[in-house]
Point group: C2
Chain length 425, copies 2
């Protein structure tokens, strides 16, 4: 779509010109055409007045399980193992593809209205997640969380790749999802690695989330999870490793050497009492650290603005360092670093000419945003997903003036209640 956004304050996330005031941003088709002076000859299909608003790159949620919105607020104040074994896995045992479709649509709507324009998912019935993503217009990197996959499941992954990788105008891609070391034996991990090599895609994996996961891996494999999968050749610059809470010094070195992408999920890691990643330390050592919400069953929302504030505050409070994960750093984690993790550096994560038109417009005209002051601080410390006014993905306006376009939110709410009642009550 051809869009002219005028009177805009633009947070580009580009170090050369981080903030541009009172400017214009033009979208042509699915790309950013120009940021700056008014283009006299541009024919806009839509004009958006961004006065008292801030335009910034859409947020990239690098680790989630979106269909788990069907279990939101189920199983609280329990640890990871109990949560999985006593709540989530039993409830999931009766989950249908239709449930996954509905849970995905609920979460995609929640992400769009709170400023997330790309997500990296791990779940199953991924065809349904792909269909929901295609239909609702979001950008998605989809991975099946494989646990000792059969030959049929591996073949299904090849089919998923053929059906979906690069589809929906390039909005949908796939990676190989290896659930974890604790749910895969060595042979399965090797098969998953081989599949990733064959398809030339990265691997998305849970690594070193809890202390007990590390202890069990050492018991079973004589190595902690990250070090163990490295011996299997699973780590490279395409790898997305979620959590990385409990890493040995050697594992930190390996993560840096292999240039893997690490996803910090502070809310979920804290809620399940796993701990949290030493993100600033990893960034200082040269790692690409991005940000994720994990699923909304362990968060219990998918709001990347909440996640940025949490990440920044816990780091300062835990390490007694007020500059730890400062506002600019967490904004980068949620944009630039996320784009790099999914192999879209130079295309996503910044607002620049030629980049994909994934952007959000934040309302600063409210009591939480006065006085108008430090924009990056305001985005991290005073902004919530509710402040998102408009969301544009791949040049399409999906959410405008706090309203979804073409989404039956009432129906989704009803459907997800029905699923929960059937599966849990």
């Amino acid at each position: 779509m051809n869009i002219w956004i005028k009177n805009a304050t633009v947070l580009t996330m580009d170090d050369k010109q981080m903030i541009l005031e009172n400017t214009n941003l033009y979208v042509e088709g699915n790309r950013i055409l120009h940021i700056g002076e008014e283009l006299r000859d541009f024919v806009a299909e839509k004009v958006i007045d961004a006065n008292k608003k801030v335009v910034m790159p859409g947020l990239i949620n690098c680790h989630t399980h979106i269909a788990m919105s069907v279990f939101r607020n189920y199983g609280n104040d329990v640890g990871l193992e109990t949560w999985l074994q006593d709540y989530i896995w039993p409830a999931e045992s009766n989950l249908t593809p239709e449930d996954v479709r509905i849970g995905s649509e609920v979460s995609i709507a929640e992400m769009i209205e709170s400023g997330t324009t790309t997500f990296v998912d791990m779940y199953y019935y991924m065809d349904e997640v792909a269909k929901a993503s295609e239909k609702m217009g979001i950008r998605a990197v989809l991975t099946r969380g494989m646990t000792n996959p059969t030959k049929e499941i591996l073949e299904g992954e090849r089919e998923f790749y053929r059906n979906w990788h690069g589809k929906a105008n390039g909005r949908i891609e796939m990676m190989v999802g290896s659930h974890s070391v604790y749910t895969n034996n060595k042979e399965s991990l090797i098969k998953e690695r081989d599949l990733a090599d064959e398809l030339k895609v990265g691997i998305h994996i849970h690594l070193n989330e809890s202390q007990s996961e590390v202890e069990n891996s050492i018991k079973d494999h004589k190595l902690a999870p990250l070090e163990f999968v490295d011996t299997l050749g699973m780590l490279n610059k395409k790898t997305i490793a979620a959590h990385c809470v409990w890493l040995s010094d050697r594992e930190k070195e390996i993560a840096i050497e292999r240039q893997i992408n690490m996803v910090h999920n502070p809310a979920s890691n804290m809620k399940l009492a796993s701990g949290f990643m030493e993100a600033q330390k990893m960034i200082n050592a040269g790692a690409n650290v991005c940000l994720g919400t994990d699923g909304s069953a362990s968060n219990n929302v998918l709001d990347m603005f909440e996640e940025m504030k949490l990440a920044s505050l816990i780091a300062k409070g835990r390490y007694l360092d007020p500059q730890n994960l400062d506002a600019k750093t967490v904004l980068k984690m949620a944009t630039v670093n996320g784009a790099k993790a999914i192999g879209k550096e130079g295309q996503l994560g910044k607002l620049k000419e030629g980049y994909l038109a994934d952007l959000i417009i934040i309302d600063f005209d409210n009591l939480r945003h006065v006085p108008n002051n430090d924009i990056m601080a305001a985005l991290v410390y005073s902004t919530n997903g509710f402040d998102v006014n408009t969301t544009i993905i791949d040049g399409n306006v999906l959410y405008e003036n706090n309203e979804h376009i073409g989404v039956d939110v009432e129906l989704l709410k009803e459907e997800v209640n029905n699923i929960f009642n059937r599966l849990v009550r």
Copy 2:
């Protein structure tokens, strides 16, 4: 006002009947008349349909500096000492009473729209804070943050007591505000204690917020702050002690023995890299621990829902215990415990017959609240101040259907921008 709230799910915060579904709540004048079956003879001036909403006690913010909204998002990613010395104190040096009035009105509006119905403040030009509180209808406990007060200032406190204590239908009370050990000498602390004894009110004080505060107190007084002020007789069950981040074992015992009220301010303590209170441990030991946002210059909002989620998550993540500060506990901190701290146990903090009608109505009919499930978990982990639909204080409806009643929000935003530009730019 006589109000009938129907079709309500009521979170009473009373352990006997914590949650009542599909019920009625009646307000007569400024008190709760009845919760339960429909009253046939009640003549309602206002009927509120709370279908798909949750009615709960208004939140009590036990430590803040509301006028500091004029410095929101000023001085970020720096520690407490730098923040005060390089940013806040210089900017405050030119603050006028009118600035405090406007900053207070901005914050009161922000609190009302995000579900806070009572706040405990510490600042100066407290006449202006009182006037703003009276005008806007909120409940307030006001304290001047005294730093080596002159005789005139102490006399001014007596005058403030006479003018404001118990006024505005009992909505406004005062306590003696002793800023801290690091801003008062021993003689001043004694004068402040004597004033509190004379007026028969409690003392509101910052205690043991940062490590350097503790070190300096030990250097100056041979005792850490809490232990030092205890030797001066400043601690009793009316005392409200903010922060209490760095307490020795002996100080923890003293806090319990004296039955002081302790305020956990997780966002501000983390943002300024002070650390955070071991709240669950203190609660287990018998302390009354309540919750506060601190000022919006170090948070950077006044949203008690954010504060509850933060408190719960950091406790679980830091102490690797998923039951640490569970949903029910933090809800109590923000309601029942806050009421106790300000001497309003039996009148505030729960929804019960005869209690003051300070209540909020939360919208659960949105994507972040489906499926409908565990209400207390949803309030802590999925709710934000933006979800507050209606706020009633002392029987008056101040905010309804997400709109302020009788507040010129546009003017306030303009005024606070002008102040910031004058003081800082």
